[in-house]
């Protein structure tokens, strides 16, 4: 067993567990977007970052893939974590306003404005569809193409490959396909329908 401190509590975890698995076991909620059980961790969306202290150094790590270590201290809701998480949400919402998942998260974590230039895209490149097609459906029909700001999920040469059985798993798992309650929304607009309905401090702050 590995001993660590999770939001101020001494806890034990199995060797090889990630921080996310450990938190889940102890009922501590960490939001995720590109992580789903059954698919390999991808560490891409960075919404699950937590503050990790090892010795006298602290840094933010992706809880979905960081394996627990003896003696580390984790804070899931520190100011640093909140600032980073909300900024990442804001970045995603700026370009992908019409995702119910993202808009609900914005309400839950108190993102109330978008200060960036907006776009209306329908993909946050979380890669869930690519991984479910490959790892669960043995399809391998879609993949990533290009790089940097031009990165996209694509079928080779933009043609539906034979490998695609039209099973719909990609649609099922996509966090962006469903419109927000107040949608469709213009770029730069927040739904914030549930802003007052939820507790704004859902986590022990850990500070």
């Amino acid at each position: 067993m590995v001993n660590l401190i999770l939001d101020g509590q001494r806890v034990e975890a199995e060797e090889g567990w990630t921080i996310l698995e450990t938190a889940k076991y102890y009922g501590v909620e960490i939001p995720t977007l590109c992580h789903v059980e059954g698919l390999t961790p991808f560490s891409a969306c960075r919404i699950c970052v937590v503050e990790m202290r090892r010795g006298n150094r602290t840094r933010l790590v992706a809880s979905c893939s960081f394996p627990v270590e003896e003696g580390i201290e984790i804070k899931t809701g520190s100011q640093r974590v909140k600032r980073a998480r909300n900024m990442i949400l804001e970045l995603m919402l700026a370009t992908t306003p019409n995702s119910r998942t993202l808009q609900c998260m914005a309400s839950k974590y108190g993102v109330t404005s978008i200060r960036f230039k907006g776009e209306d895209r329908d993909c946050i490149l979380c890669g869930l569809c690519v991984r479910i097609c490959d790892q669960q459906m043995s399809g391998g029909a879609i993949g990533f193409a290009r790089r940097g700001v031009e990165r996209e999920v694509s079928m080779p040469f933009h043609k539906t490959p034979e490998a695609c059985r039209q099973c719909g798993a990609c649609l099922y798992i996509c966090p962006v396909c469903e419109l927000p309650c107040n949608g469709p929304l213009e770029p730069g607009v927040l739904c914030n329908a549930c802003l007052d309905a939820v507790q704004l401090e859902p986590f022990p702050s850990g500070d």
């Binding site: 560490s43 969306c45 960075r46 919404i47 992706a62 290009r146 940097g148 990165r151 040469f157 490998a163």
Partner: protein, 785 residues
Amino acid sequence: MAGSDTKTLSEFVAGLVDETGGDRSKLSSVLHSIQKEYNYLPEQALRDIAGLMEIPITDIYAMATFYTSFSLIPKGFHIVTVCTGTACHVRNSRGILDEICRFLDISPGETTPDMSFTLETVNCLGACAMGPIMVVDGKYYGEMTAAKVPRVLKKYQREKVAAPVAAERISSPAELDTYRESAKLARYPGTTSIYTCAGTGCQASGSLEVLEALKLELKGQGLSDKVMLRGTGCHGFCERGPLVVIGPDNVFYQKVTAEDVGEIVTETVMNGRVLERLLYEDPATGQVARHKEDVPFYSKQMRQILGPNGVLDPRAIDDYIARGGYSALAKAIFDMEPDLIIDEVERAGLRGRGGGGFPAADKWKACKKARSVDGVKYVLCNADEGDPGAFMDRCLLEGNPHSVIEGMIIGARAIGATNGYVYVRNEYPLAIESVSRAIEQAEEKGLLGRDILGSGFDFTISVSRGSGAFVSGESTALMASIEGRVGEPREKYIHTAIRGLYVRPTNLNNVETWANVPLIINQGAEEYASVGTENSKGTKIFSLVGKITNTGLVEVPMGITLREIIYDIGGGIPDGKAFKAVQTGGPSGGCLPESLIDIPVDFDRLTEVGSMMGSGGMIVMDEDTCMVDVARYFLEFLCDESCGKCTPCREGLKQMLEIVQGVTEGEATPEKLDLLEELAEVVRDTSLCGLGQTAPNPVLSTVKYFTEEYREHIEQKKCRAGVCRALVTYGIDPEACTGCVRCMKACSTGAISGEKKEPHTIDQLKCEKCGICLEVCEFGAVVRK
């Protein structure tokens, strides 16, 4: 397209796949071969590969679209490439690019309708000292101006270097010593020798022509046997190329042309008379230097790694052996236990020269300790020198490849590694050729491969070619790339020393780090560590480029101040301009202002002030450089080079660019500056790999040290350097204008009008602010406001 005439595409592809034996790590070389043969990657070829190599087509498509070396659409017969690296950028490569666009009537990335030209940009060719650089079909044109573009585009040719080799296996340290003695006699007979720099920089100014002329002249005079003529690697002083050094006294000739050759041979070589007109004259003091060591550029340096570059023929392993090469290897294998080698490297204080400055011995220890499932461990050399403005590694690989290979073999011996890779970026064709040849020669001599020097130790090295992606220099991305996958980083929560290439323990160091290893073994840790500061030992090579008098490669002891490098070695800022900033660490580093110019160059000190050592690019900027534009430039570079996997790097950098772009266009508000800083902090804090984590440095450092300039752009809509086009206007001073019509002819948008011998005027609506009028005006009549 020779092959395609005789073979069908499918046959060609099948042949290539056959050669790989189904090894996925060869996928990128298959793609390179097809790209070279057909000038693009036909869809059918990719589908064939997928079938034959049993690789998902999605993976191949991802690679073909990820790397810039590959294209899915056909390219033109001639490839015109403009370097937009930092050094070229500050010397106005954008103006050249614009001019080519106009001349060919295409945009970057496009091909002319007649398929004759394709125009491309590249993020750095590593020929920074000669910038701005333009390349046509592999031929380098240095110090380009927009005005020269039309002339150059009419001629093009390809340079080639031949590769002679000799073979004879050496199977013990004693045999190595004997061989060394005979090589010394054969290669350095003690008579006169001529060393001509044949590095990329000097090639761009015509050194191959000089070398050829020397060969003919010596032959004509019947001196071929008596005088040793060498085409060597880079001497570092690219600014003054082509360089010719004549031994034994090291008479140093600069800016030599083929016409000078006859006189050099009859006067200097035959009669020992020095030709005054080819000597270097210090522009600051007017002092003339006869010998290489008298030139201030060299005299303040400490060239323990670069030095041999100037006297070795990189194509001849005998040159290297004759000068003591591979003696460190013999010592490490026969006189030292592996732990002792690591101990020596640790006491020498060797830190990684590739960027972060991580202690090399710590990595080696971790990798040695790590268990491998089948005993295979890897030692890698990172030659993906992607930092725009840096070309140290290219020069080492081109000029002295055996020092790097020797270092790697010693490292492999210490760690217990069995296989090695040198990962070289595709933009360095000469380096790839040079290191491949050196590996072949070392294998033939029994210094690499099976049973090295008869010791029973086996270690092989292969060359893996990059395909145009800056992020591939990141360790996990580099490994993915070698494995034949997209060069995308992954989390390093388990170190690559434990789980790296093919999930085996892997040790990665960069070119310069490996080149330091033989020196440490030969000198011993104490002597090596006597140079440098407390925590940064030895020397560091920098490419000194940008707005500086003596551009080129310099090697200096750690702890030297930036001022000494810039003023004593670099000769200060040309044209009487004022120094503004020095950029170190490439896109991961920062811009330091004059107030910090006296800090010592040392890994920790540079990081403390918000920059970093990086791989060693040092770009000097003067009053004509706009710091906001520099920040914008790096963001543009990084947006293009980010792999796009994680949100903060992909989306964050894009938004940062958006804000900084707004500043350069005079459209930003002061609040945007706060948002920029807040965003930069988060990108640094949350990005997946080193690229994203350090990407905000150029922005944060310019905001910190040059806030004034940002404020001016925002509040007064003013760019004091006159770089931000939206904020400047060009006009003609009627008093100074002689009506010579030069500017009118040069202006490609027809914005300038006027009669001959009458003052001209600029139509502001038509003016694109390219500045070519200012460049061509000889009377100072064009004014930029």
